[in-house]
Subunit: 347 residues, 2 copies
Amino acid sequence: MTTSEITAARFERHRLSLAESFTISRGTTEEATVLTVELEDEAGRVGIGAAGPSAYYGETAESVEETLPALLDVATEVGDPHAQQVIEERLAETAPAEAAARAAVSIAVHDLAATQAGEPLYRRWGLDSDRPPQSSYTVPIDSPEEMRDRARRTVERGFETLKVKLGTDADRERLDAVREGAPEARIRVDANCAWTAEEAVEHTSWLADHGVEFLEQPVPADDIDGLRRVSVEGELPVAADESCVTAADVGTVADAVDIVVVKLMKCGGLRPAKRQILAAKAAGLDVMLGCMIESSASIAGACQLAPLVEYADLDGSLLLADDCYDGIVQPDGRVDLMATDSGTGVR
Amino acid sequence: MTTSEITAARFERHRLSLAESFTISRGTTEEATVLTVELEDEAGRVGIGAAGPSAYYGETAESVEETLPALLDVATEVGDPHAQQVIEERLAETAPAEAAARAAVSIAVHDLAATQAGEPLYRRWGLDSDRPPQSSYTVPIDSPEEMRDRARRTVERGFETLKVKLGTDADRERLDAVREGAPEARIRVDANCAWTAEEAVEHTSWLADHGVEFLEQPVPADDIDGLRRVSVEGELPVAADESCVTAADVGTVADAVDIVVVKLMKCGGLRPAKRQILAAKAAGLDVMLGCMIESSASIAGACQLAPLVEYADLDGSLLLADDCYDGIVQPDGRVDLMATDSGTGVR
């Protein structure tokens, strides 16, 4: 049993340019700020994680920077990276509202523990390396022409599935253009809360005509009745993202949607994500593992859970022009768990 | 990364005498039949598990014996004991109705994988050895005098909590006697489906007068409305056992009870049990980890999950006059995870 105490902890702020500007119904992003975390043990082994703060959830790079020192103190005080139950409970008590910062430390702790054991994390969890679904790649909101071209380029890169952001005043024209650029691709649509239930029900008819696979978060987060109405009256399966932040929200959406979107940065870590995934599956729902715009330092952690889910949307690091670490998502969105030597596979 | 394929698998039937006869509302047991499983790897390391079949769930020693060869074939065909996701899915496909047989193989696979890694199973799961609650000890149905004496002896052995079986024509007299024998003990009552909701609501008033902590399965398994009525109208928290067999049942009982009882022999293995525990906690319920009358070979597996739960009722092997393996539950019901050298700690 290899154990070595956590003796050093540090974090660093990185401004990372996006490969292309990124627009959803709530606004446009030109660059991402991520905060990477490193935990080092007595033997000099390093566990790596990262936070991708989300303004939607009230987080900023500054709030993460203010929070991380106390969270890193938890990790060094507990010391044993295998004491994940204890560490994550104390992280949650210390910073309940800073899920991205907690996720960064959670990922680093798990990476270090599995690295000490010389095992990939997914294997410590008994999971199957053949199981992760290929990730979708996002087509953000842009002019119809740009969206058509991006769809075409994405399919040429080897992606089989596009996640198309809608929630504008010309959604139908935009989706027509995407389908023109990618006639054979699987398409999922994410409205990021932009529609009313009535609009969403109407939209599902032309979305279904385009062979859309499912519709993510058509209505505002707190409109659970709206989600249910879109599920019942609309023509597509519905996924809950902003409406299902943690495992505790699964019961609320269980009879309203077909799919739950789990993100480490929403729920605050690997154990909370596993709880949310298993609760959703117990309720008979499918799960999509998603992400924010994030470094491979955190996406690699999410990938270790990917054998548990039906859908993957883990393109966060692929949207970056440059990244501070290498991970295990391939340029075509395949999640190559066999590339994990040990820990989460981040390098 | 230590991996060695499973090259041999065997099982054995044991008739084990009980220390004392054991009566619940459904009948009396004088001895227990358990089927132990051993999986051996190329290096001669052995993973151990056991089935405790339950007539209530349609299982017998014979049905387990008929089922185990196919389940052991799954383990040897997959080969890698770390491939737990794959193995447990194939076990469920192979024998959906034989949960105890599946649990035996699941426990042995996890024991072998963690033994190969040289780690206790709870540590591979990141759990805290300080967290398991002390197990309760069962006072089965008997004459009031015998129940009073057994309660007294049990407290003298160091147990702080009694689980009292009721569901007879003289329940109140029996509980009076137990309280006389153990004036300071924490008492939980299990009616094993014997009451109507109306009776149960009435009974909660004198149960509460005796300081009973909660009431387990007062009404028949399929009477979810009855459970809800006892929760709402009665004076005690209510636990679902027979009404909540697997993770898929958690949603059904979530608004009807306060506590879910998880047993490896009901849900069919360690991963199914974890799913049920996490689903219950996501729904805001507490969890009691329970057992049938079982060998330490299977109780030791359940103990590895005990840091996740609020209540433990893991006295199955303590009820035996003799056992075929040693485990980690102490004679006073403390779950001593630190006694786990590697694997589940069974010896």
